[in-house]
Symmetry: C2
DNA sequence: ATTCTTGCAAACGGTTTGCACATAC
DNA sequence: GTATGTGCAAACCGTTTGCAAGAAT
């Protein structure tokens, strides 16, 4: 996981059906060697050190492309815009990937102990399970995955 | 939970230390009687049917205020801007409420069966646990909760 | 009377888009 | 040579902000 050279990265891009450019290489490497889940802006600043002529637009387009072919993950936001809920006690949500609807999915956060390793040093205030998928109405007409 | 009248709603607002206006009443009622987790825009359109002079800015300010005093919940987005991750296999995330940093929190989504009732009709593609709290560096200097 | 809220419009910031030029294959 | 990607700048859209007028206590 450490000793990856340019050839490996190029192969990875090709394996995902992507045309290889040095911009894509730089962007993927920058992301690969970061544990921080950086934003597009942060990646842009990082890559710019080596390639000052790169544009922020390219970073956005490239990340979106990477995400489309499954090379990287988009951590958040879950929905494009903020959504509100009059129900204040903690509960889970099911978000439809097609129509963006959100349904409640049970009220078991408090009871249900989600045991995870390696959270020493992290003080948990809230925990929420987000289920992404297709709701009743949208099932069937899903293109991706 | 059904037979709430205006007086009840007014009391609820007062209980949360809020000054009562008909705009706030309308916004809260609109949200209260919706299971859809609507966006600010949707709430605006809804309320506008009864009060055509209301402004979108007021809806935003009001929802933010409601959220501050704990009257409603903001479902998403978890972070303000999109964040990316070269690690593609499903795993949980810890999001710091202070510095917005994101750490991985284990890779147990696949194994860990999160059993929830009432998800018939919903086809789950991904499930993710989001832990919100304070990271090592930010612990202590937290103002809210 | 004072403080808080509203409405309007402008500003803001992250993201997307259109297009001419450049590059990968 | 053709299709695809890049850079730039403008557009876009959800959200926030500033301020004067209005309403709540």
């Amino acid at each position: 996981m450490e000793g990856k050279n340019d050839k490996d990265f190029i192969a990875t891009l090709r394996d995902h059906g992507l045309q290889v450019t040095y911009q894509r290489l730089a962007i993927y490497q920058a992301l690969y060697y970061t544990k921080n889940h950086p934003s597009a802006e942060v990646i842009y600043q990082q890559v710019r050190k080596r390639f000052p002529m790169i544009s922020l637009g390219t970073v956005y387009k490239t990340l979106e492309k990477f995400f489309e072919v499954g090379l990287i993950q988009k951590v958040s936001p879950i929905t494009e815009v903020a959504r509100y809920d009059a129900v204040t006690h903690p509960h889970h949500h099911m978000v439809c990937l097609e129509c963006q609807s959100i349904q409640d999915a049970g009220e078991y956060v408090g009871d249900q102990r989600i045991t995870l390793p390696a959270i020493e040093g992290f003080h948990v205030v809230r925990q929420q399970v987000v289920l992404q998928g297709y709701c009743k109405g949208c099932k069937g007409n899903n293109g991706d995955n």
